[in-house]
């Protein structure tokens, strides 16, 4: 019976999986393209195995549907840190043996080479991305500098873009309200802290344009619909470097998190999937992807030498969330907090939106 429920998902998967030795499910867009070029093709060239990429707007629900239906057609999926934790909790993922991950290019064992939290029971990080905000430099020659400036309608008048979700916004609002990043989740765990975050969002609510897909903020900025917007840093980087848009990122108050490769329970080609993950999260694999999109590699050894963007001249270092200058007032997103509170805070957020 379960099979029927996800028939469409599974059929799409089958159509692709029949062709390939392993199948990787990811987000599509410029991110999927970077993984394709940085991970899939080199691995395929190295091992001779065929590998196919399929896209989903959000891979996590697709993984859940496949595993529950008992018809898993992808071997590796790219999911957010919180989703990796959640799916692992629900027993929907294969555990990954951390000891089998390759040492860094400089010989550092994987356990010491990876950043803290980058390897979990069921997932290995492929990159660190950040929620930042960016503004249009033609609108403000003396631009905003801090998270608090985003909420300052007097100094920087105009519409703002914000993601239509509780996650990322509440943290950002608290940091802008003066809460130290280290105290943000302790504050959010109390009803007063949640009220405080919503009160801060209230101050700009009338000027907000809400976005949902990662491609929207650069578009809203380019159209002049907003003067500044929160965004995923890679999208702003692509618009600013590739398309020479006048966008400037403000790193103050950024929230960053790991993006994970996971293996759905019952993946048809388990051995090859693990080999693919070992390759993709090696120093070489991580650098390969980081040269194509401005998300930071989660290994020390991968950050040791400068990474050059595919245009041949832009050095990636200063554009990565993990650059030291960008980490001054930064917060790592807590998967544990959001696994516990996502539904509750989102209901509150939706209710707040309609008030």
């Amino acid at each position: 019976m379960k099979k029927i429920l996800v028939l469409s998902t599974a059929l799409v998967g089958v159509a692709f999986a029949a062709q390939a030795d392993i199948t990787v499910l990811s987000w599509g867009g410029s991110y999927g393209a970077a993984q394709n070029e940085g991970h899939l093709q080199p691995w395929s060239a190295k091992t001779g195995n065929k590998v196919t990429m399929v896209d989903a707007p959000d891979p996590a629900p697709a993984v859940k549907a496949m595993v529950e239906a008992g018809n898993v057609t992808v071997d590796v999926a790219s999911v957010t840190y919180a989703d990796a934790a959640r799916l692992c909790d629900e027993g929907l993922l294969e555990p990954i043996d951390a000891a089998s991950l390759p040492a860094g290019a400089d010989g550092t064992p994987a356990a010491e080479d990876f950043f803290p939290g980058a390897v979990t029971e069921c997932g290995v990080s492929t990159d660190i991305w950040a929620n930042i905000y960016a503004y249009d430099t033609t609108k403000f020659p003396e631009g905003p500098k801090t998270a608090a400036d985003f909420f300052d309608l007097e100094k920087f008048p105009g519409k703002r873009g914000l993601i239509k979700a509780a996650k990322a916004n509440l943290e950002f609002a608290l940091i802008a309200d003066g809460v130290a990043p280290a105290d943000v989740y302790a504050t959010l765990a109390t009803p007063e802290g949640v009220d405080r975050a919503f009160a801060k969002l209230d101050t700009i609510k009338s000027e907000v344009v809400w976005w949902e897909a990662g491609a929207q903020p650069p578009q809203l900025l380019a159209d002049g619909e907003v003067v500044m917007s929160t965004a995923y840093n890679g999208r702003i980087f692509a618009a600013a470097i590739e398309e020479s848009k006048p966008f400037q990122i403000v790193w103050d108050g950024q929230t960053y998190e790991n993006e994970m490769y996971v293996v759905p329970k019952g993946a048809p080609n388990l051995e090859q999937a693990m080999d693919y993950i070992r390759f993709a999260t090696s120093t070489e694999g991580l650098r390969g992807q980081a040269a194509l999109i401005s998300y930071g590699p989660p290994r020390k050894s991968a950050n040791a030498d400068p990474i050059i963007y595919k245009d041949g001249k832009t050095e990636m270092g200063p554009h990565l969330p993990t650059a030291e200058a960008n980490m001054a007032n930064a917060l790592q997103t807590s998967a544990e907090f959001w696994v516990d509170h996502d539904a509750e805070l989102n209901e509150r957020f939706q209710a707040w939106l309609t008030q």
Binding site: M1, D58, W210, G224, H341, E347, Q350, T354
Partner: protein, 417 residues
């Protein structure tokens, strides 16, 4: 006379005519049934079974019941326990189950199930399970030392309720209720969302249906009465957008209506509004209604057209020649004949609008969200049971409306084309 009818009519081979006819009809009926069998099977497989499965999901979740046997047994034996102060045996059963969950790796599933009604518990279960095997009696004090939140009455109420795999909890959450320390109560002002969105979804769908009807009626009339060549051209204009991708049409409306969009640029260019006073027509309810009306308009035009096409123009002429004014002719003669088309179009548009998801998500902004957007949220955040419960309520509401419609208009008057 009486004797003549009592004699049975017979067929050539001597069988009673009535029986022969019945046999022939049975054969025909069986053949007809065999012909529709593939469709029936298809509908069953792709429609009824998934809906049944969805409804089952909305009342069933054994994530906790299956992984906490000791507590299930204890709750079964002590149905009237005091959630504010559960005895030591309850804590002993809990610690035993936590240790078992750790071994079987079911902590996450059980914690997720409880988290649905008592937020913040997944991490408590994980932490408790990690330490469970090292805890020594008295278990109550030992567990409260790990995390004092284990004493929360709401948590014990939640666990007692979840120890039965069948539950009405998800429907309670979908009706804006919260599990507090005193049991299920109405959620706070800042948290209530679902019932309001149900109401709004039906209101917006109703508005869209009315606007569609007002716009479609004259167009359909033109289509039905114009000469063939012109009406074909007009028909293409109706169908062309119908065949275009939904996403393309929705994003086109964004390009037209946004603040720096074409409509606002034109108004500013013509000097009707100044540059500071640009109209906000997108990312709000106006945007949702405009885009959805456009997307759904063909579903109103086509049934109306198919009904109007076969209304003989002589009826209206006869009414006029008998002295009716043009308004009376329309109201008493033409309009009643189009009713089956109006009924079909309205029902189609309304039901499609109630379930609409992608258009409000793209152009709705803060206040343009409909209930389907929340169903999608819970699908993606893996609370499928709550998504199923909301969808179940939506289905029930639609069935009630359908029943009302049948009573008021009559489903047999429906004409879909």
């Amino acid at each position: 006379m009486a004797e003549a009818t009592s004699e049975l009519l017979k067929t050539a081979d001597g069988r009673p005519l009535k029986a022969a006819l019945a046999a022939a009809q049975t054969r025909a009926r069986r053949r007809a049934f065999l012909l529709v069998l593939p469709l029936l099977f298809f509908v069953l497989l792709t429609f009824l079974v998934p809906i049944g499965y969805m409804l089952k999901r909305s009342v069933e979740h054994d994530g906790f019941a299956a992984s906490a046997p000791a507590l299930v047994a204890w709750f079964g034996a002590n149905p009237g326990f005091d959630p504010a102060d559960p005895p030591e045996e309850a804590y002993a059963a809990l610690v035993q189950d936590l240790a078992r969950m750790q071994g079987e790796k079911t902590t996450g599933i059980a914690g997720t199930r409880i988290n649905y009604s008592v937020p913040g518990t997944i991490s408590m279960f994980k932490k408790g399970a990690r330490e469970a095997k090292d805890l020594v009696p008295p278990f109550k004090d030992a567990l409260l030392a790990v995390d004092p939140a284990w004493a929360k009455p709401a948590l014990w109420r939640g666990m007692a309720s979840a120890s039965n795999a069948y539950t009405s909890e998800f429907y309670k959450v979908a009706a804006d209720m919260k599990l507090s320390d005193d049991g299920w109560t109405r959620g706070g002002d800042k948290e209530r969302i679902y019932l309001y969105l149900f109401f709004k979804t039906f209101l917006v769908s109703g508005i869209i249906t009315v606007i569609c009807l007002l716009l479609a009626f004259p167009v359909s009339h033109l289509l039905a009465t114009l000469p063939m060549a012109k009406s074909s051209l007009l028909m293409i204009l109706v169908l062309l957008p119908f065949w275009t991708s939904l996403l393309v049409r929705t994003t086109s409306w964004i390009a037209l209506l946004q603040e720096q969009g074409i409509v606002n640029d034109m108004l500013v260019g013509l000097g009707l509004i100044d540059d500071q006073g640009r109209l906000t027509m997108m990312y709000n309810m106006t945007g949702t209604i405009v885009a959805m009306t456009h997307v759904l308009l063909p579903f109103m035009i086509l049934p109306l057209y198919s009904v109007m096409r076969v209304i003989p123009p002589s009826y209206a002429r006869a009414a006029r020649s008998l002295g009716a004014t043009s308004w009376t002719t329309f109201r008493r003669v033409y309009l009643p004949q189009t009713l089956p088309g109006i009924a079909a179009g309205s029902l189609l548009v309304f039901i499609l609008a109630v379930g609409y998801y992608i258009t409000p998500a793209l152009v709705g902004g803060a206040d343009g969200q409909l209930i389907s957007n929340l169903i999608s949220f819970h699908m993606s955040k893996s609370n499928w049971s709550l998504a199923a419960a909301i969808a179940g309520m939506l289905l029930a509401a639609i069935l009630v409306l359908y029943w009302l419609y049948d009573r008021l208009v009559g489903i047999d008057r429906l004409k879909l084309g």
